[in-house]
Structures are given as C-alpha cells and as structure tokens.
C-alpha cells in the first residue's frame, strides 16, 4: 500500500518536473526562471534536512488539526442528528458556514492569535472540519431502520447506541471521509503557514517565493508529497485495522 502510493506520487512528481524541463529547454528559459536539474539537485542536497524538519513540523500540526476537526465534527454531528430544533439549526448552520472560504478568515485569526502554533492549528482544523462535518451529520442523522427498530420497539434505544449503530453501519464512508480530509488538513496547515506563520514548510515556501527560488519550492513540494503519502497510507491502514477489529471486513 505504502510503496504503491509513494510510487504513484513519484511518477506524478517526475512527470511535472519533466514538463518543466521541457518548457525550460524548448523556450530557452534562464536558470533564474526555471533552474536546471543540477541546480535542483544541489539545492536538494543542501536543504533536504532543513526542509524535512519543516515538513515534519507541518505534518505534526496537520495531524493535530485533523484530530481536532474529527472530534469537533463528531460532537457537532451527534447534536446535528437530533430531530428537535437544535439539530435542525446546526445542520442549516453547518451547510451555510461551510460555503464561506476559511482562507478568507485566516488573516483575522492571525491578527487575533498571532503567528504561532494556535493559529496554524485552528486554520488547519477549520479547513478540513466542514467537509468532515457535512459527512458526519449526513451519516449520523440517517436512521438505520432495520437495526434500530428492535431497540426502539423494546425501549432500549439511547443516543450512544444510536450513534454506535449509525457509525458502525457507515464505517467505510466515515473512514473514506477521514482519509480524504487528511489532505485538506495538510493543505490547511501549509496555507496558514504561507499566510503568516513563522515555522513549517509553508513558511519556507513563502521565503523561497520571495527569493524567486523555484529549486527550493520543488524540493519542498517533493517532501510534502512524500510525507502526505505516508500519512494517508497510515490512515488507510488504521481504517483497515478498525474495520477488521469491528468485523466489518
């Protein structure tokens, strides 16, 4: 699973790099615009360690943000599944708020919370939170009548059992959504760092951009891709393990 995903990423990355080289040499562009292979390799050797630490820093924040958004989506999804007014209110609010781009709110977060960890974490969590929330609300508010009927008829149904039944029956969907939103968490963290943070690979890309150093950006992209692939594979494995433990596969 791991080697396949990394392998796929490497193919895409080197196709992209190849296209850049094709553009460079066919249009006879300078090394300043698009650096040559040797310059990219030199930059890679020089900044690999530094950028790897920056990507791992970003990944840690993304994972924390992802966990935070899963917890928030679960709590709000549980309340949103209710048929009383509060459930209905939360569902409508979630659909309306998610339409608003979080990136546009990011500067306000930085102004209020500064450029530290909390801002990066909050933006990462918010960017992957809404897609998760919509799925969680949809899944948790959809009755599984053929299982729930017995517990309702015998007056054994409570909110924990209801959530457990619905989550278990939709475990494949939940895991797919969680894995899918992991990419968004990584994107959210990089965007946050790119806007105003003082650490992480997004911050390094911003510096490289100011220096117009495409070689550094290409090295950063390479490391982001590899680390994100590893994280996604870990989540897929975790999902497979959970499904296996629950007897769902």
């Amino acid at each position: 699973m791991l080697h396949r995903r990394v392998y796929q990423f490497l193919i895409i990355y080197f196709i992209g790099l190849g296209t850049l080289m094709l553009v460079k040499y066919s249009l006879n562009l300078s090394d300043y615009t698009i650096p040559g292979v040797s310059e990219i390799w030199t930059t890679c050797r020089r900044y690999f360690g530094l950028y790897l630490m920056a990507v791992l820093n970003t990944l840690c924040v993304a994972i924390l943000g992802h966990l935070l958004s899963i917890c928030m989506a679960t709590v709000v999804g549980i309340i949103g599944r209710l048929t009383i007014w509060i459930g209905s209110f939360i569902r409508v609010a979630a659909y309306n708020i998610q339409a608003y781009p979080i990136v546009a709110v990011a500067p306000i977060i930085f102004i209020l919370l500064g450029d530290g960890l909390s801002s990066r974490l909050l933006i990462a969590a918010m960017i992957c939170y809404f897609p998760l929330l919509l799925s969680f609300i949809g899944i948790l508010s959809e009755p599984v009548q053929e299982i729930e009927h017995f517990f309702e008829s015998t007056r054994r149904m409570n909110w924990r059992l209801q959530v457990k039944i619905r989550a278990f029956e939709n475990i494949h969907k939940l895991i797919t959504v969680i894995v899918g939103s992991a990419t968004l968490a990584m994107v959210g963290t990089i965007v946050a760092e790119f806007i105003a943070a003082s650490a992480g690979i997004g911050y390094s890309i911003r510096i490289a951009l100011y220096q117009s150093d495409l070689a550094k950006i290409l090295v950063a992209l390479f490391l982001i891709g590899v680390c994100t692939s590893v994280y996604l594979v870990f989540l897929e494995w975790l999902g497979w393990f959970i499904k296996r433990r629950l007897g769902s596969i």
Partner: protein
C-alpha cells in the same frame, strides 16, 4: 388505504393477517404496533399492553456475535427460555457467528427468537419466517404455540397453506374497493397433538382464496 375497515381478534393464540401484496397488511400492522399514528379511526387493545412488530428485513448490530447479542437483550427472567429457543430454532451452530455471516433463513430465525425473548402481549410477525424451510418453519410455529399459549400472535404471510393450518383466526384483508374490506375466517389451529383434517384444511384454503 383503508375505508371503513373493521376486524377483530378475540382471544390469545396464533392468528394470521392475510391478503395480496399492497393491500395494507404491513401498514395495518404498524398502526397496531403504534409505529404509524396519523390515521383516523380507533384501534382498541384489551388486556394488551406491550405490542411488538417484527419484520423479515431486520438486522442485528454487526459488532456482536449472536450469543453476545442475545445475552445482552434478554431480560434475566427469560434466560432459561433463551436456551430453549436457540435449540428449537436450530441456532446452536450460529451462536458464535456474526449476523452478516448467517444465511437468510438463519437471520430470520435469529431475529424472531430475540423478539420472543422480550416481554410482550402481542407480537406481529411480518413475513418473519421467510426463507425458512417448511419443516423448520412448522417446528418453530409449533414451539411458539406451545411456549406462549396465553400470548397473542399476528402472523403475516402469503402462504395460504401455513396460514390455514396453524392459525386460529385469519383476517383476510382485501383492497379498499371491496366491502367489507376485511373478512375473518377460522383456521385449523394445528398444534401438533391431533391429526390434521385434510378436507377441512382444503375447505379453509378455498375460503381464504375466495375471500381475498
């Protein structure tokens, strides 16, 4: 769906609700069970407090094996009965399996068994023994009749033979353009202890087919 529908089941026992597809058997069953409340008219239940409705598409939660589920949902007072039902329903071999691993017939038997372990006065069985072979089905119905002689059962089935053979009162539901919309007939109420009268059984079957 119903127009001036009137029918009654007067005593405990194994009764049937029979009729062609789409005539409203399940709807009527849900109205009796209280799952459907928005209708005009009255349903009067005398000496019946707990009504349960079960249907053949129900499933058990997947995180339990059958044994764990039955133990979790069986009231302490009915634990003894659980072993008896598991044996007579032929569920011994399924106890350590999960619901999804069972055949359709085993699933229906398991589902019915868990309802029989609850406290109820009336159990409505909507095609609850579908996909169960005839011999096992007969064994199960006779067991239910012997175990719960004072309870009331309403068995919904499309099988005219088993309805005629095992049921005491058979409410034949007809479409809303026929009057009366429900006709009550008497079945053989076979309990395994006396010989079945073949000619009477055929007569009842004919009456049911004619009525529906």
């Amino acid at each position: 769906m119903f127009r001036q529908l009137s029918c009654q089941v007067t005593e405990p026992g194994f009764h049937a609700l029979f009729g062609p597809s789409g005539v409203g058997k399940t709807t009527l069953a849900k109205m009796i069970a209280g799952d459907i409340t928005e209708f005009s008219g009255d349903i009067n239940l005398h000496r019946i407090r707990h009504v349960l409705y079960t249907y053949n598409l129900e499933r058990l939660p997947g995180w339990y094996c059958i044994r764990e589920h039955l133990e979790a949902i069986t009231p302490k007072s009915n634990r003894q009965r659980m072993t008896e039902l598991v044996d007579s329903f032929g569920l011994q071999s399924c106890l350590d399996s999960r619901f999804a691993q069972l055949s359709l017939g085993q699933q229906n038997r398991t589902n019915l068994a868990r309802y029989l372990l609850q406290d109820f006065d009336l159990l409505i069985m909507d095609e609850s023994l579908a996909n169960v072979d005839e011999i096992t089905k007969e064994k199960i119905i006779l067991k239910i009749k012997s175990l719960f002689p004072e309870r009331c059962f309403l068995y919904i089935s499309h099988n005219v033979v088993e309805v005629s053979k095992f049921c005491k009162q058979i409410v034949v539901l007809r479409n809303q353009y026929k009057a009366p919309q429900a006709v009550t007939l008497h079945g053989q109420d076979y309990n395994g202890r006396r010989t079945l009268k073949q000619t009477e059984l055929e007569q009842i079957m004919l009456e049911i087919v004619n009525a529906s």
